[in-house]
């Protein structure tokens, strides 16, 4: 082949002249393509800018301290987002506390403890396939699941509305007397009928001081002494039964509380956390695993001391992305919480709640324009939270990510 004649495309000047592509045309196409890409890319950015501008102009006006600290109100002038903000905080924190250990554990078993037996490997890949599929399931579906599993617990503990089992709750029979004082009688057994006033029985003031009851008949004069009036009742006074929940109040089934909401959101974010954690673990060079195993580390020691610490930045980034997802979810929460008028921040895990997306949805659905402005203000708060989460994720990744080899 050493002395073979050069091919026509390299040697025959007539052929070369005929076959050569126009350099100018190639450059023109190049520039055209670049401009098309530029236009498409900037139009997507433009949509975002338009959206933000619209929201900001509509919402900034009603974004004030009253809005951030007050409860929702039928009067848009004084309505606020506080309970929804606190509801979202409760939800996101609970969701993360539950989903992170579960997700990381699932990722560790899938990545670091891959079985050698064929049938176990099949189960492994089946689980893996399901997790990948779950990531694509619409969140409404999780809402229905949450309603059955967490809210009513298949009706195992009664009808699903009332608590079948509860701890951290105290019941009182509460009287409201003629002198506008509140008197409370603790209830030992909830099955008993409400307390009837008896002369000398122990009652508690609203502040919690024990007093002996002073019983008055129909025709007796109401005492002038306020100390006595504080512990007086008429014979015909009847109480109402109220319940006081401590911060650790817990009931089964969970009912339409924050915990049921958080567990449902957990289902939504679990695939995100698992996949992110798996990717973080996979990014740890296998040479480090081999080194640890070669020194006689058990698989647990290898994971705990080498692989997991090296994967933490990636796992944290995944967790924050999951938080962003959880804080913006509305559909599954609509099924769990519904649109209820909630004016207080949740006080325990079983408390009724609302969340920012729910409140925004509620306001946006009303006919009055003032409420639409409130919805826009709510969106600003929500977007700010998202922006903060994403910034933290980026910063964490930059700060914690160390070279591994």
């Amino acid at each position: 082949m050493k002395h073979a004649p050069k091919p026509a495309l390299l040697a025959d000047s007539a052929v070369i002249a005929k076959r050569t592509r126009s350099l100018a045309a190639r450059h023109r196409k190049d520039i055209f393509f670049r401009n098309v890409c530029r236009t498409v890319a900037s139009s997507s950015a433009l949509v975002l800018v338009l959206l933000l501008t619209a929201i900001l102009t509509q919402g900034l006006g009603s974004l004030n301290f009253q809005f951030l600290s007050g409860p929702p109100d039928p009067d848009p002038a004084i309505a606020g987002l506080w309970p929804a903000m606190m509801g979202s905080v409760w939800l996101v924190v609970l969701t993360l506390v539950i989903a992170l250990p579960l997700g990381v554990a699932a990722a560790i078993i899938l990545e670091e403890f891959q079985p050698r037996r064929v049938y176990l490997r099949r189960i492994h890949s089946f689980v893996q396939l399901n997790i990948t599929n779950l990531a694509g399931v619409p969140s409404v579906v999780f809402g229905i699941l949450g309603l059955t599993v967490f809210v009513s617990m298949f009706g195992i503990f009664g009808n699903g509305q009332e608590a079948g089992m509860e701890v951290g709750v105290t019941y009182f029979d509460q009287f409201y007397n003629e002198g506008d004082f509140i008197l409370e009688v603790p209830v030992a057994d909830q099955a008993q009928p409400v307390a009837e006033p008896v002369e000398g029985m122990t009652v508690f003031s609203y502040e919690g001081t024990a007093m002996a009851l002073h019983l008055l008949g129909d025709d007796e004069e109401w005492p002038a002494d306020p100390a006595l009036a504080k512990r007086s009742l008429r014979t015909w006074d009847a109480p109402g039964r109220i319940q006081e929940n401590s911060w650790w109040y817990f009931r089964l089934p969970f009912g339409r509380g924050v915990l049921a909401g958080a567990l449902t959101l957990m289902l939504v974010v679990l695939p995100i956390i698992i996949i992110a954690s798996q990717e973080a673990l996979r990014a740890v060079p296998s040479s480090l695993r081999q080194a640890a195993l070669g020194l006689g580390a058990t698989p647990l020691q290898t994971v705990r001391q080498i692989t997991l610490p090296a994967a933490v930045p990636g796992i944290l980034t995944g967790a924050i992305i999951a938080m962003s997802r959880a804080i913006g979810e509305a559909a599954p929460l609509l099924m769990i919480a519904g649109i209820v008028f909630i004016t207080h921040a949740p006080g325990n895990m079983m408390d009724d709640f609302t969340a920012m997306p729910l409140q925004i949805f509620n306001w946006a659905g009303r006919p009055q324009k003032e409420f639409h402005d409130l919805a826009a203000s709510g969106i600003i708060v929500l977007l700010t939270a998202l922006l903060i989460f994403n910034t933290v994720a980026v910063v964490l990744r930059q700060k914690l990510q160390k070279p591994l080899s």
Partner: protein, 258 residues
């Protein structure tokens, strides 16, 4: 190929040892005695099974799906392959150094202490003593004694590899396996590791896989030439290099093949 009787005490004994990856048989009926306190080199073209053999000695192949073996493999009379063998304890007795230096992203001190801490609860003073001894033994102490707390990733490739050797001997092994320990290093670092191997021979039985004929000739006492999963020739390094029995061995060593 028959077993060469050696007057030395065998530390690692292989009899009819086969190994597979799935359906592919990587090693065929290996019979070999690696003598105690000597360096044995495995040479041969890529894919001949020398790394596979090395990695079976401390069962690093366990993690590979489909990898299995049969036959006899004993270290100082203890069975390696049986179900009764605890691989964690085995790997403590049989250290391994890999081709590419792989220090942990931790301090130099923690790298050396890592393995020891897996197996033992020690006081700070005991650990300090162990770390210093291991680093001295790996001829690294003088270079790093002032920066034990700084990251091991800041060391040069050769230093990292010596750190990996220090890390391996800190857990008290009897055998050291080295899988092409110098192939990622420059000639000067290679020379220092080779020197180290000759010194470590006093205390450990060493098996080394290498692609470098000169290296095998320089550091090893015994050499096994492997081809297509079989040991073609095994004997004293001097004999193998100067007076090989098989034509194939001679061709490989002199560079006419491989």
């Amino acid at each position: 190929m028959t077993t060469i009787p050696t007057p030395l005490k065998p530390a690692i004994r292989l009899r009819g040892f086969d190994a597979w990856y799935g359906d592919f048989q990587a090693l065929h009926s290996i019979d070999m005695d690696l003598p105690e306190n000597r360096v044995t080199a495995f040479i041969g073209p890529s894919g001949c099974g020398k790394s596979t053999l090395l990695r079976w000695i401390n069962r690093m192949n366990d993690a590979i799906p489909g990898a299995r073996s049969s036959g006899q493999l004993e270290i100082n009379g203890h069975d390696v392959l049986g179900p009764a063998t605890d691989v964690v304890e085995l790997r403590r007795r049989v250290g391994i150094v890999f081709q590419k230096p792989n220090p942990f992203p931790k301090s130099i001190y923690d790298n050396v202490a890592f393995g020891a801490r897996l197996h033992m609860k020690a006081t700070k003073a005991e650990m300090d003593e162990l770390v210093e001894w291991s680093l001295r033994k790996a001829a690294l102490w003088d270079e790093v004694k002032d920066r034990l707390r700084s990251s091991a990733l800041g060391l040069s490739g050769g230093q990292q590899q010596r750190l990996c050797i220090a890390r391996a001997i800190a857990v008290g092994p009897q055998v050291l396996l080295m899988d092409e320990p110098c192939s990622a290093l420059d000639p000067r670092s290679t020379a220092s590791i080779e020197e180290l191997m000759v010194e470590l021979r006093e205390s450990y039985t060493i098996a080394i896989v290498t692609h470098n004929m000169q290296q095998a000739a320089r550091v090893s006492d015994f050499t096994a030439y492997m081809f297509l999963g079989k040991v073609v020739e095994f004997g004293a390094t001097l004999d193998i290099f100067e007076n090989p029995d098989c034509q194939e061995t001679e061709d490989y060593i002199t560079g006419r093949f491989g």
